[in-house]
C-alpha cells in the first residue's frame, strides 16, 4: 500500500519542503473524504486536525439566529482548512461544511505539535507556511469587511 507521502508532497502547501522533514509528519496524516453537505467540523468543537483540501469545495459558515447560516468564505482545491489547532484553546470558531464531495488530507494536531517540539526545523517550516496562508486570508477578509460594493452614503 502506498503511503501518503507522495500525496502530501504534491500538495501546494508542502511545496519545496525537504523530503526528510515531510517523512516526519507522514505519520500524522490520514486520507479523508467528505460527502456533499457533510460538516467537516463545528463551532466550539475540539480542533484536533487541519486539512489540506485536494479536491472539492468547503464553506466556512457561522450561524446567526434569525439569519441562518452565513457563508464567510469558500475554500477550494489547494487551500488549507483550519488553523485553530495551532494555538490554545484549540477550538473551532466556525462551522466548515463540504459544499460538494471533498477529498482532503487530515493532519492530526497533537501529533504535529509534539513533532514540532521535537524537531524545530519542522516547526519553523510549518510556521512559515501558515504565516503565508494566514496573511493571505486576512488580506482577503479585510476586503470583505470593507464592503467595497456597498453604498456608503450614510
Amino acid at each position: 500500500m502506498q503511503t501518503l507521502e507522495p500525496i502530501l508532497a504534491e500538495h501546494p502547501f508542502f511545496k519545496n519542503l525537504d523530503p526528510k522533514i515531510l517523512q516526519v509528519i507522514v505519520g500524522c496524516a490520514t486520507n479523508v473524504v467528505f460527502k456533499a453537505g457533510e460538516f467537516i467540523f463545528r463551532e466550539e468543537g475540539d480542533a484536533q486536525e487541519f486539512y489540506l483540501i485536494r479536491k472539492g469545495q468547503v464553506a466556512l459558515e457561522i450561524y446567526a439566529p434569525g439569519r441562518g447560516p452565513i457563508t464567510l468564505q469558500t475554500l477550494h482545491d489547494g487551500n488549507i482548512l483550519g488553523w485553530s489547532w495551532l494555538v490554545p484553546p484549540y477550538q473551532w470558531h466556525f462551522d466548515a461544511r463540504a459544499v460538494e464531495e471533498t477529498r482532503a488530507i487530515a493532519l492530526n494536531g497533537r501529533c504535529l505539535r509534539t513533532k514540532c517540539e521535537e524537531c524545530h526545523e519542522l516547526g519553523y517550516e510549518l510556521m512559515k507556511r501558515f504565516a503565508f496562508v494566514v496573511t493571505q486570508r486576512i488580506e482577503a477578509l479585510t476586503l470583505q469587511v470593507l464592503d467595497i460594493y456597498g453604498d456608503h452614503r450614510s
Binding site: 453604498d151 456608503h152 452614503r153 450614510s154
Partner: protein, 392 residues
Amino acid sequence: MSEADQKGHPQTVFEAEGLQSLVETLARKGYQVIGPTVRDKAIVYAEMESAKDLPVGWTDRQDGGTYRLEKRQDEALFGYVVGPHSWKQFLHPPKARLCQAKRKGDCFEPRGEDREIPKRAFLGVRACELAAIAVQDRVLLQGTYTDPVYQARRGNIVLIAVNCTQAGGTCFCTSMGTGPKVTSGYDLALTEVLEDGKHYFVAQAGTEPGEEILREIPHREAQDPERQIAESLIAKAAGNMGRTLEAEGVHDLLVANLEHKRWDEAAKRCLTCGNCTLVCPTCFCTTVEDSTDLTGEQAERWRRWDSCFTLDFSYIHGGSVRPSARGRYRQWMTHKLATWHDQFGTSGCVGCGRCITWCPVGIDITEEARAIRETPVSQAAPSGKERSRANP
C-alpha cells in the same frame, strides 16, 4: 530699432485728449466700451461713456491681502495695475443659460439658446491680461469641444491694450514671461507718458481694425525721444515687480513634491474661500445647474462659475475626493503652475498677482513655490525621529 514697426504698423503719438476721441470713435463704430473705473474703492471694469469715467489720477497699493486706492500727484489715466475684475467676466461670464426645455405631457421639448452678443471694446487691457485671454482661448476654443458661450463673445471684441509703466505690489508678469510689454493679441497698444508737463500716448496698431480706429484720432508719427521714453518707462516697470517666481522647472518641482509639508502649512491658513479662483483671469471651472420654474412647465440649464475650493467640487459616492483644505489648496496651485502644462502646453499663471492681493489671509503663490523649491521632499532624509542602533 525696437520692435516698433512690427507688421509694418508705425508708432504714433496722440495727446491725452485723444483718449476721449478714442472712446467716441469706438462708440460711433457700434462698440460697447468697457474699461477701468473707480467703484466701491476699487478699480473695476465696467461700461464707459467717456474718458472721464477712467480712474484719472488714481493708483493702487497692493500686497498680500491688501488693496488700497491712493491719489496720484498727476492726472494719469492708466496709473495703476489690475484690480479684482478680469476680462474673463465678459468672455467667460459668471452665469450663462445653456438651453431650456418645455414640458409636454410626460415628455419635454428641448430648446436652444440665442447667442447674440453686442460688439465690445475692452479698453485698458494689460499684457498679463492679454496673456490670460490667450490661455483661455487655448482652453475653451482649442480643445476637442469648444465652448459656444466663449466663442460667441470672443469674436466680437476689440482689444485696446495698455503697456504698464509701473509695476504693482503683487505683480510678477516678468517671471511668467507675459509682460509688462504687450507683444501680440491686441488691436491697438498704448503707452501713457507724463513728462515735463507733457501728457501723451505712444500708440501702435496691431491689426487692421486697430489701424481703422487710430485713423479717426488726431495723431502724428512718434519721434525717437518719445519712443525711447515709452520704452524706458516699460523697462522701469519690468524692473520693479513686487514679486518673483522661478518658473523654470516649476512643473516637475511641484509634481515631485505632492507630499511636501508646506501644503500642510498653507492649509492651516487657507480658508478655502475661493477668492483666488474668482479673481484669477485663467480659472475656468464651471458647474451645470438644472432647474425648473415653480409650475414645472419650463426647465432651464444654467452654467455658472465654480471653484475647486468647494467641498462639492469633487463630490462622489457620498463624499468629497478632496475633503481637506490641504488637498484643495494643493489641487489649485499644482493645476495652475504644473498640470496646466500637461493639459494645455502653457502655464496657467500669468503673474497678475490678483490671487495674492485678494486672498483674505495673504497666501502668496510665489512664496509657496519658493518654499517648496528651497526644501524639496526628494532630498529629505527618511522619516522617523533620530534613528540609532545604540540605546543612548
